[in-house]
């Protein structure tokens, strides 16, 4: 009797999503309120640490950053030229330019919160009040982190690209070979699937989002190819890659809040 009732409620909720919506809104907000003093004190301790104790080695860090800035300036001047050329060509072929993305910075509050987080996920302190919706892409300057699966007003759950349930449409940056990047679990390689044997790929090549999945905008770096195996018994190459973002030590992330899949007409 109880099992039948539970199954009935589960099926009804599966179709309507009413209970999920209530739990998503109230449960995550409760976590946000209850967790606030913990984040606040952690932030204060961290800022005190960085202000007073972490100054050791600042000069070396400064020198290293100065040389990095010089290197980036050189790269920037070259890219300015290429961007100007791209704009001219775009105008020539009447392409619509891509809208600039709006970023919302968020702090990682927790990694796999609670016993129901059976998937690789993080909890970020930005929710619907900051413009976050389901499937909002989450990135770091190094590469893609994942996408938002559930959200409340002040928190959101992000599915990491290393989870076996995550699938990202990607292509290689140099050879433009397309495939689907699938997670294999924590501390395992990512796998690029459905790459035909004849398609060109190189080890060390960077994989970027292709934009074909309608979730991630085109051109975001995701992973670097580690190994490629071309087996004679399979129609596809076995491609293993490593995520560019350090997903095990995430502290802050960026959420692209204004990306909408372009209309296909």
């Amino acid at each position: 009797m109880t099992i039948a009732l539970l199954l009935g409620v589960y099926t009804w909720n599966w179709r309507t999503g009413v209970l999920d919506a209530i739990a998503e809104r109230s449960g995550m907000d409760m976590v946000s309120w209850a967790g606030w003093p913990l984040h606040w004190s952690r932030e204060k301790v961290q800022s005190a640490w960085s202000r007073y104790f972490y100054l050791v080695g600042l000069r070396q860090e400064n020198d290293r950053l100065r040389s990095k800035v010089t290197e980036l300036f050189l790269q920037l001047s070259r890219l300015h030229e290429e961007a100007a050329e791209a704009s001219r060509l775009r105008a020539l072929y009447s392409f619509h330019p891509v809208e600039p993305w709006d970023f919302e910075g968020g702090r990682v509050v927790s990694y796999r919160f609670g016993p129901h987080a059976a998937v690789e996920s993080i909890l970020v302190d930005k929710g619907t009040t900051s413009g976050v919706t389901t499937n909002t892409p989450v990135i770091t300057p190094e590469g893609v982190v994942g996408r938002v699966l559930r959200k409340s007003t002040r928190l959101s759950q992000v599915l990491l690209i290393t989870d076996p349930n995550s699938k990202v449409a990607v292509m290689s940056r140099e050879n433009r070979t397309q495939g689907i990047l699938v997670g294999q679990g924590p501390s395992a390689f990512l796998q690029m699937q459905y790459v035909p044997l004849n398609d060109v790929l190189e080890e060390g090549e960077v994989l970027i989002t292709s934009g074909m999945d309608g979730v991630f905008p085109k051109g975001l770096p995701v992973a670097r190819i580690q190994t490629i195996v071309r087996s004679s018994v399979s129609l596809f190459q076995t491609v293993q890659a490593v995520a560019l973002a350090d997903l095990r030590n995430l502290e802050e992330v960026l959420m692209i809040t204004n990306y909408a899949q372009p209309d296909v007409e």
Binding site: R25, G27, V31, A34
Partner: protein, 160 residues
Amino acid sequence: MISFKNILARLFWPLFLVIAVWLQLLFPGVDFFAAGIMLCLQREGAGKVVLLTLVCVLIQEGSGFFAFGASILRYGSLIGLFLLGRKFFEAGSPAFILLLGMMFSGIHFFSMKTMAGLQDLVVVDHRLLMESVLLFFVFLSEWLVLTKIYRLSLAHVSRS
């Protein structure tokens, strides 16, 4: 005049919820609410048990990835096992809690597998197994600590 013990009595369960949330934020994939529900079943009336379970269900369901029902299955089984086991064992005995903890960690493993299967989600089996074993130890040790604190601070106002 309101005494310190009375304030503690009023704040015990809200404080428990806040600290359990903190612990869940700090330790990935672990349930810190179950031991509290168990203690509430042993020491408090039905109203408080229902209210506490409802808040725990909302928190776990809202922040988890499964469709609504996984925590009802888990906490419902825990409450059901407690009510059933109370007929055969002394409700406060450590042996009963040990047995209940073992069964609860088994229920956790199978309910997570079932819910993941229903939603076509892939879960990493060996990690789920490890977390189920960890849940057993967390459940036992947390129950011991909570019982101690409860006895020290709230014994005079509790129902039993």
